[in-house]
Symmetry: D2
Subunit: 273 residues, 4 copies
Amino acid sequence: LNAAIKSGKVRAPTHIVSTICDDRGEEPTYAGVPMSTIIEKDYGVGDVISLLWFKRSLPRYCTKFIEMCILLCADHGPAVSGAHNSIVTARAGKDLVSCLVSGLLTIGPRFGGAIDDAARYFKDAHDKKLSPYEFVESMKKKGIRVPGIGHRIKSRDNRDKRVELLQKYARTHFPNVKYMEYAVTVETYTLTKANNLVLNVDGCIGSLFLDLLSSCQMFTAQEITEIIEIGYLNGLFVLARSIGLIGHTFDQKRLKQPLYRHPWEDVLYTKYT
Amino acid sequence: LNAAIKSGKVRAPTHIVSTICDDRGEEPTYAGVPMSTIIEKDYGVGDVISLLWFKRSLPRYCTKFIEMCILLCADHGPAVSGAHNSIVTARAGKDLVSCLVSGLLTIGPRFGGAIDDAARYFKDAHDKKLSPYEFVESMKKKGIRVPGIGHRIKSRDNRDKRVELLQKYARTHFPNVKYMEYAVTVETYTLTKANNLVLNVDGCIGSLFLDLLSSCQMFTAQEITEIIEIGYLNGLFVLARSIGLIGHTFDQKRLKQPLYRHPWEDVLYTKYT
Amino acid sequence: LNAAIKSGKVRAPTHIVSTICDDRGEEPTYAGVPMSTIIEKDYGVGDVISLLWFKRSLPRYCTKFIEMCILLCADHGPAVSGAHNSIVTARAGKDLVSCLVSGLLTIGPRFGGAIDDAARYFKDAHDKKLSPYEFVESMKKKGIRVPGIGHRIKSRDNRDKRVELLQKYARTHFPNVKYMEYAVTVETYTLTKANNLVLNVDGCIGSLFLDLLSSCQMFTAQEITEIIEIGYLNGLFVLARSIGLIGHTFDQKRLKQPLYRHPWEDVLYTKYT
Amino acid sequence: LNAAIKSGKVRAPTHIVSTICDDRGEEPTYAGVPMSTIIEKDYGVGDVISLLWFKRSLPRYCTKFIEMCILLCADHGPAVSGAHNSIVTARAGKDLVSCLVSGLLTIGPRFGGAIDDAARYFKDAHDKKLSPYEFVESMKKKGIRVPGIGHRIKSRDNRDKRVELLQKYARTHFPNVKYMEYAVTVETYTLTKANNLVLNVDGCIGSLFLDLLSSCQMFTAQEITEIIEIGYLNGLFVLARSIGLIGHTFDQKRLKQPLYRHPWEDVLYTKYT
Ligand SMILES: CC(C)(COP(=O)(O)OP(=O)(O)OC[C@H]1O[C@@H](n2cnc3c(N)ncnc32)[C@H](O)[C@@H]1OP(=O)(O)O)[C@@H](O)C(=O)NCCC(=O)NCCS
Ligand SMILES: CC(C)(COP(=O)(O)OP(=O)(O)OC[C@H]1O[C@@H](n2cnc3c(N)ncnc32)[C@H](O)[C@@H]1OP(=O)(O)O)[C@@H](O)C(=O)NCCC(=O)NCCS
Ligand SMILES: CC(C)(COP(=O)(O)OP(=O)(O)OC[C@H]1O[C@@H](n2cnc3c(N)ncnc32)[C@H](O)[C@@H]1OP(=O)(O)O)[C@@H](O)C(=O)NCCC(=O)NCCS
Ligand SMILES: CC(C)(COP(=O)(O)OP(=O)(O)OC[C@H]1O[C@@H](n2cnc3c(N)ncnc32)[C@H](O)[C@@H]1OP(=O)(O)O)[C@@H](O)C(=O)NCCC(=O)NCCS
């Protein structure tokens, strides 16, 4: 068949198209870069993500930032939806993949989804040149909380250290941080409304990722729009949190925890909806 | 290509083999039976399971028994692992499939797995003609609890009504209930050890399924062994409980429940393993 | 703690609310009906779905219709997305739940999602008293194909037998089939545009489910809206197709199929997006 | 309730135990290390994995090796089971998490599972001081292929560059590579049987991970056994490959690929099992 296809006698259109990794040679290539080059050239996890997701070799300041985001989102304790479901599944004696997956499936609009939304709204508002006032008030009219703004504990006088560190890193290494600066002006405005309406980690990552994409000069405007629409930043959160979910699974298995059953007295059984 | 294959000039071995359902004609057939026949002949859910899982049309007393098993396993409240994970995922705002799946992934050795194990052990013990004493004591030596035996609340003098109803149904409609009778002799023996070591619903379904397979005369001995090894009864539990998990998902969505976070005070944060 | 809560000394609001199944007594109840009643009264799968999803006992003509929908959607061959992924996972040697779940996750807007959408659009158009002309043309303007209309093979002169059987059943047993009649007038109009724009199975099920909900007099208008919005019919498809996905998994395991690898020559490796 | 618990009047034992991450303070800590320290001290992904999975700060040569494993396992093209299922799900229009998860569920005994098995068997054989001859021949008797040995293309005279690079890295940076040396003596023996029975990447990673655990002096013998039994290396593969699966999902979405349907002519529909 192969010979027939090659000789052009039989036309067999392929059913799958793929562009990120070629495994047909002696060693796979990631966006054209052979695996052994990746080892020899001392690439990091951020570089491989850059190759497999963005199909290009981003500068080191970008891939380092991607790694920082992974570190910050890797875990947030056993009580959040994702970790909780992984823990329950681990305690039911299931294999690692099932545990991880049961937790991952909780990631979405209410858990983990704020980074992408922050990027979407900040990009839109910035590019339309809305003033912070116009942006925040128009969101209020639509009844949507500004994603990336607000924190339960942190406030104007008790800043989130992680946000400060990310901002410092970006100010030092990024050619340009216009989206982050825009987010800061939004924060300045929301802080006049309430003391805890600070730029939070999600908003900081979301706006800085916009700066990464636009400042490195390696993406067309259309490509950036596509990346934000498809939701690459959600991928970053999903990958990062997988580290934590796998960690919680190992933890429960090591602790030999028994089957979890939610306590009866914590459930309200009712007929009334 | 198709023409070339048909004309025999190019040999293209298929990569997939499948035997249960043919969708190439005007309407799909299940094990050879066209869908419209299924509607016209008033088939039930048990009949379709019979066609798609066992590839034959089992007698009505069998498919009715399959349906009874589905009814009994459809749900067991919101506190068990599966329902709990579905509820948590629903409250994270995820779509129906994600919620269902997050719950299904907890089904396994500790949650829902007793039916298949009961069938495996009862079959083995019965076919080897072990006396109840030999069987139970050999299990004890291996440190394995007899699956299908034991109940937290029910006891000799307070029987489980569902078990009674299933037994009554089978005694009336099955040509032969030798495996169930064997399970009852095991129960008689374990009841001499403790009052609550009754034959439970899982053990009852597991042993009666063996009777179904062997008494209907439509399976070879090898086919029965294969069915028990592959774990078809687990499939029955998984399918049945899907009804409940979907129900819990709809329930939470209708109740508009917010993101679940496990209460901090119910978690022991520790460093010591 | 329970005693303390009951005596009113300690306030412990529950973290989970649930309404469909109570497992605290000797046997679980489904929407208040004890499991043994379900067996004694000869309930079917449709009745249990009625209790666990709709929290009420629907008349037999309704639960029978639910069962017919399950039969029709149970499988559609090995080549569709869901079955294919279950087959690939089974051939990777994974457990039943992983195989089922890997297939279920493909169900969504493009695979299996037409029933709910058909119900949504037909309900909206019918309730707004749009003429078939107004409805179809307004959809065309929005660039949306009318869900539930159109078939690759069937046409005006070669009707789908399943649609005919469902229609006949409903005309005989439902008190009222106004939504289905509306769908038929839409079909009459679309058939003037092209010969194959018939009412398909999805459209038939979607519209008849609207008739079921409105004609049985057991739901308020608001409840019906909620059911259609939440997407209960998708649940019906998901449950039904689980039968097929489990069947395909058993099939591959029985056939002892090896690890699947998609053929290289069917993949176009490219750099150009 | 909290006050009552603290005052000791009400005893509320916790239902969850967790040891890897504490989120109760102002910023989460990973195994006791605050997140801001992780950023300030320039930790990498390997360091965070070290904290969340192994609950200790491993030396840099270890965490760097962990990162190298992630790079090497991140992807292996679109044709393998995992990538294929993610691609099919992406083409069904599903969200990122569903696509990733559908692919992850194929990871197991036949796809991705060789690293853990290689570690298990090499550890056992080495610790029992089996000669390569005894080890390989005893495996043959059991009918098990030595995991970590063998390659379709590579051979004695055409070594896998990645294996060479990993070996070189470990020989330079690890205090001790006794397990890897053992694997090499096994390879020397199997090469006398066939030219392609080389130590492959999986076997190289598996044996070197044993060296990592034993040479860094930070784990007790029992802890190492536990890590190998629980299957931490599978976690490494799962995490690594998530990068690829997410990449394939983005790729298909960017390419706007339509619903996948496996070609009919590639399926053998049959009744014979
Ligand atoms: C993070 C968050 C949940 C903290 O909320 P909180 O401190 O509990 O805030 P409350 O719900 O008590 O709201 C207090 C007031 O601030 C307002 N507010 C809170 N977050 C707001 C936001 N992001 N944008 C605009 N207004 C906001 C509320 O509307 C409320 O105003 P009101 O009293 O006039 O109705 C909240 O700010 C939020 O939802 N932010 C957006 C999502 C996000 O970024 N999440 C990631 C967090 S890391
Ligand atoms: C159902 C079950 C969990 C109830 O357990 P329980 O009433 O809490 O029983 P306990 O754990 O207190 O055990 C009491 C004694 O009975 C014994 N026992 C309990 N179940 C047993 C069984 N299935 N076979 C043999 N001995 C059993 C225990 O070993 C224990 O003996 P010991 O005191 O000498 O050690 C238990 O019987 C069991 O695990 N059964 C097997 C699994 C099964 O069928 N599950 C489905 C239930 S619907
Ligand atoms: C079922 C379906 C895929 C069959 O499509 P098909 O026969 O391949 O139709 P084509 O894509 O060749 O379209 C032929 C023409 O009919 C039109 N058409 C097809 N389905 C239509 C619909 N549901 N509503 C309105 N117009 C439709 C197309 O727009 C096209 O018109 P054009 O040539 O002027 O552009 C298609 O009818 C459809 O998408 N239906 C809606 C979804 C649905 O109900 N799916 C469940 C099927 S069981
Ligand atoms: C990698 C692998 C699939 C390559 O297989 P292959 O080149 O197609 O080998 P074949 O199946 O043609 O086997 C050729 C001979 O080598 C033997 N052989 C292959 N791999 C072997 C191994 N790992 N241990 C011992 N013998 C092996 C076979 O038994 C066969 O011997 P026979 O002809 O006497 O029966 C195979 O070596 C293997 O399964 N290895 C173990 C699993 C593993 O490490 N996988 C990860 C690969 S990166």
